[in-house]
Amino acid sequence: MLEIKDLHAAVDGKEILKGVNLTVNPGEVHAIMGPNGSGKSTLSYVLAGRDGYEVTGGRIIYEGEDLTDLDPEERAAKGIFLAFQYPVEIPGVPNSTFLNEAVNAVRRYRGEDELDKIQFVKMLRAKTKELNMSDEMLKRAVNVGFSGGEKKRNEVLQMAVLEPKLAILDETDSGLDIDALKIVSEGVNALRSPERSTLVITHYQRLLDYIVPDKVHVLAQGRIQKTGGKELALELEEKGYADFVGEEAA
C-alpha cells in the first residue's frame, strides 16, 4: 500500500524529515507517535502533497506509484485522505455542497460517472446514518461555528464519504474531551477494512486505547527511531520520549 523510503523533506529550506522509512500493508493500522516538533505533521503534509513541503530526497511509493510529482487533488483522487488536525473553515459553502463537489471531482478524475443530486443525497444519508450523525451538520457551512468535536466528526464523515484507501489521521485526538474522542474513534473503527490502511498520528497513547494499532512507530528528530507493537505506546506513556530526544533537540 504505502512504502516510504529514506524520505527527506524540507519546509522553508529547513530539513524536517531526515530519512524516514515506513511500510504499511493493506488493512493495517499504524500509529506514529513522537514529541512536539519531531516532524509528525510534516510527514502527513508531505504525504498529502501540500505546497511548501518539499521532498528533498527519498521516495514515497503508493500502490506501486511514486507520488512525488502529483498534486494534492490527484493524490486524493487516488485514495489518500488526510484528516486535519485543525479542520479548515469555508464560510458560505454548505457541507453537503462541499462533499458533493469533492465526490464528483474524484469520480471525474477516475473516469467514473458523476453522481446526480438524488444519488448523492441518498449516499450521504446512508453515511450519516452509519456514523450516527445528524443531517443538520450537512446544511451548515463547512466547519464554521463547529465545536472541536463537531469538526473532527466532520472529518470522519468526509472520510466515510470519500472512502479512501489510505487514511492519515493527524492528531485527531487533539482538542477532544473523552466523550468526543470515543465517538470519533468509533467512526474511524467503523471504517476499518482489509483494503483500507490507516496512519494514526498522535501525541498521546489514549487515542490508541480506542483505535488499536497493528504497529507503533516513534518519530523523533525527523526519523523513525523505534518500531513495535501496540505495547510500545504504553511504554512511551510511562517513560516519555526522553530516550529518543538526543542532544540535537535538547
Binding site: 487533488e73 485522505f81 473553515e89 459553502v93 462541499f98 465526490v103
Partner: protein, 485 residues
Amino acid sequence: MSATAETVEQVHSISGEKYKYGFVTDIAADKAPKGLSEDIVRFISAKKGEPEWLLDWRLKAYRRWLEMPEPQWSKVQFPPIDYQQYHYYSAPKSDDDRPKSLDEVDPELLATYEKLGIPIKEQEVLAGVAVDYVFDSVSVATTFKKKLEEVGVIFCPISEALERCPDLVRKYLGTVVPVADNKHACLNSAVFTDGSFVYIPPGVRCPMELSTYFRINEMNTGQFERTLIVADKGSYVSYLEGCTAPMRDENQLHAAVVELVALDDAEIKYSTVQNWYPGDEDGKGGIYNFVTKRGACRGKNSKISWTQVETGSAITWKYPSCILQGDNSVGEFYSIAITNNAQQADTGTKMIHLGKNTTSRIISKGISAGKSDQTYRGLVKISPKAEGARNYTQCDSLLIGDKCGAHTVPYIESKNKNAIVEHEATTSTISEVQLFYLRQRGIPEEAAVALVVNGFCREVMQQLPMEFAVEAQKLVGISLEGSVG
C-alpha cells in the same frame, strides 16, 4: 461602397439643406457618421420617428452634456474619451453581416458558452448568428406576450412604448435620473438608441420574471440603452437584465440609464448579470461600462431591490441607487463584483432616505484578482425629515493574489438624530490552507477557488432568481480562471 465614401455621403446628406425641413422619412443610411453633434441627435430622433417633445428633450440633454465635466471622483483610470470617434446610431445588423452558423463564431467564445451550459439555440442568438428564430424563441415570446397582455402589463422596446403609451413614457422619463444628472447619463439622454419599457398596472403581480431574453430581436439595442420601469400602486415585478454569457459587442463605450419608479405599496426587483468583454490581460479593447441606475420609491410602503453580479467590462462605473421618498419604503442593494487581470471597477450604491421609517440594506461582495482594482463607494444619506430611518451596510472584500487592490469608501450623511446607520466591512484573502484543504478532498485548484468565492458571495447569490443564480455560480469560476497558480 467603402466606409469612407459612405461616411462622406452621410455627412453630406445630414448637413445638407434637406435636413432643416424635417428630414424625417427617407434616410436610407444604416449608420450615423462618426462623431457627436446636434445634427446627430436630430438624426437619431428622426430615424426613430420620435415626437417633438422627445427631440427637444434630447437636444436639451446634448447642450448640457457639452458643458458638463467628466466625473473625476472615482478611482478608475483611463485615457480621455474621444467622443467624436464613435458612431451614435447604427441600425441592427442585417443577416448578411452576421455569422451564418456557429462554425463562423470565435471558438473561444463558444468554449465559454459550453462551460456555462448554454443550449445551442441560445448560443446562436448570443453570438449573433443569423438564424430564423420563428420556431423557438418567438413562439415562446408570443405565449409570454399574451400572458402579459391579459393582465395589462406593458413590456416592449421604449421606442414602441412611445407609440403605444406616449403619455406614460413622457410622464416618467427622466424623472428619476434627470437629464443633467451626470455626464454619462446626460450623453445617454441625448443619444439613447433603445431599451425596455415596463409598466405594471395597479394591483398586478407580474406573472413572470421579465427578462431581456424574451426580446431577442431587440438585443442589439446599442451602447446607449435606456430602461424605464414603472410599478403602479400595489404591483410587483421582477426584471432580469443581461446574461452570463460574454456579450459580443464592438462598441467600447456603454452609457446606459435605468430608471425605476415604484408607487404606493409597489415592489420592483431588478437583477443584473453583466459579463461584457473585459479586454485582454491588459484590459485592451474592453468595454467601458458607465451606467446610471436609480430607483425612486415614490409611494408609501414601496420597495426597490437591486441585485447585481458584475464580472465583465474593462471599467465599471456603476451605482444602482434608491431614493426612499415614500414613508416606510425599502431600498436594497446586493452586489457581487469580480475583477481579474487589469479590470477596474468603482461600484456601489446610494440610499437616500427622505421619508419616515425608511429602511435600506446594502450587501456588497467584492472579489479582486490578478492586478485588478476595485472600489466600493456607497452613500447613505438621511434627511432631517426621515424620522426612524435605518440602514445596514455590509461590505466584504476578498483578495486573490498580491497584486490586486480593494478599497471601501462609505459616505454617511445623517441629518436626523434618531436614524440608525450601521456599517460593517471586512477584507480577507483565500488562504493557502483553505485551498489545500479543498484540494486534499479531490477538488482541483481552480474549482476550489470558485467554491470559496461562491461561499463568500452566497448571501447575494441567494437574492438572484433561481436559474440566474445557477449560471452566475458557474460564471464566478470562469471569471477567475487563471487567477491562481
